[in-house]
């Protein structure tokens, strides 16, 4: 088996992203005893559809291709590395348009309401029911 170093192009085997191309960005933990080895993986999402996430090594299958990227590279850097390597035509991938890239940048994550607020609401509801 090929080792999973930074820049290795892989296929995901398990889950809803199975069969999609992704690249290893960072090594997170090495397996010792019962703990399992994990790596940070990204498609990037705009290119292949794999979200940037932590992934078990057993859920990946390495290909013979690599991409030149730094350790812990951002998604835009990975996309540029793909452009230079010429893997896009090989895997039949679609390059994201400039508009999509901008939209991804300006996306603001919605903050989830804190737990304390939820409990307060519940208590209020309970009080109403008692009345």
């Amino acid at each position: 088996m090929v080792s999973l170093e930074v820049g290795r192009v892989c296929l995901k085997i398990v889950g809803r992203e199975a069969g999609k191309v992704c690249t290893v960005v960072k090594k997170l933990t090495e397996g010792k005893g019962k703990s399992q080895p994990f790596v940070l993986v990204t498609g990037p999402k705009l290119l292949t559809g794999v979200k940037r996430r932590r992934c078990n090594i057993e859920h990946l299958e390495a290909t013979q291709h690599t991409v030149l990227i730094k350790d812990d590279a951002s998604d835009e850097e990975v996309i540029e590395a793909y452009k230079k390597s010429g893997l896009i035509t090989k895997f039949n991938l679609k390059l994201p348009s400039a508009g999509e890239m901008k939209a991804e940048k300006t996306k603001v994550k919605e903050e989830k309401p804190k737990k304390e607020e939820k409990t307060k609401e519940k208590e209020e509801k309970k009080d109403k029911k008692k009345k």
Partner: protein, 79 residues
């Protein structure tokens, strides 16, 4: 509706009707029953949402997870 003949304690032969369900869906490669698929009559399967009918995976509802895993592994070695 399936018709079944039943003999009652009084000695009569009675025809009872029972609803029929389609069979369990099997994996196309290993022939084992699939998880996450529902058994319904074709007229009622339209009412179920799409996510309840099959797992949202590559070949979901057609191959089992083990078989897809090995298929994709072979594909990765060919690329």
């Amino acid at each position: 509706m399936k018709k079944i003949k039943v003999r009652t304690p009084g000695g009569k032969l009675i025809i009872k009707r029972r609803k029929e369900k389609p069979g369990v869906t099997l994996c196309a490669m290993c022939k084992e029953p699939l998880h996450g698929t529902k058994r319904r009559i074709p007229s009622k399967i339209g009412k179920i949402s799409k996510t309840e009918k099959r797992p949202s995976r590559l070949y979901g509802g057609y191959l089992c997870a083990k078989c897809t895993k090995e298929l994709v592994k072979e594909k990765a070695r060919m690329i």
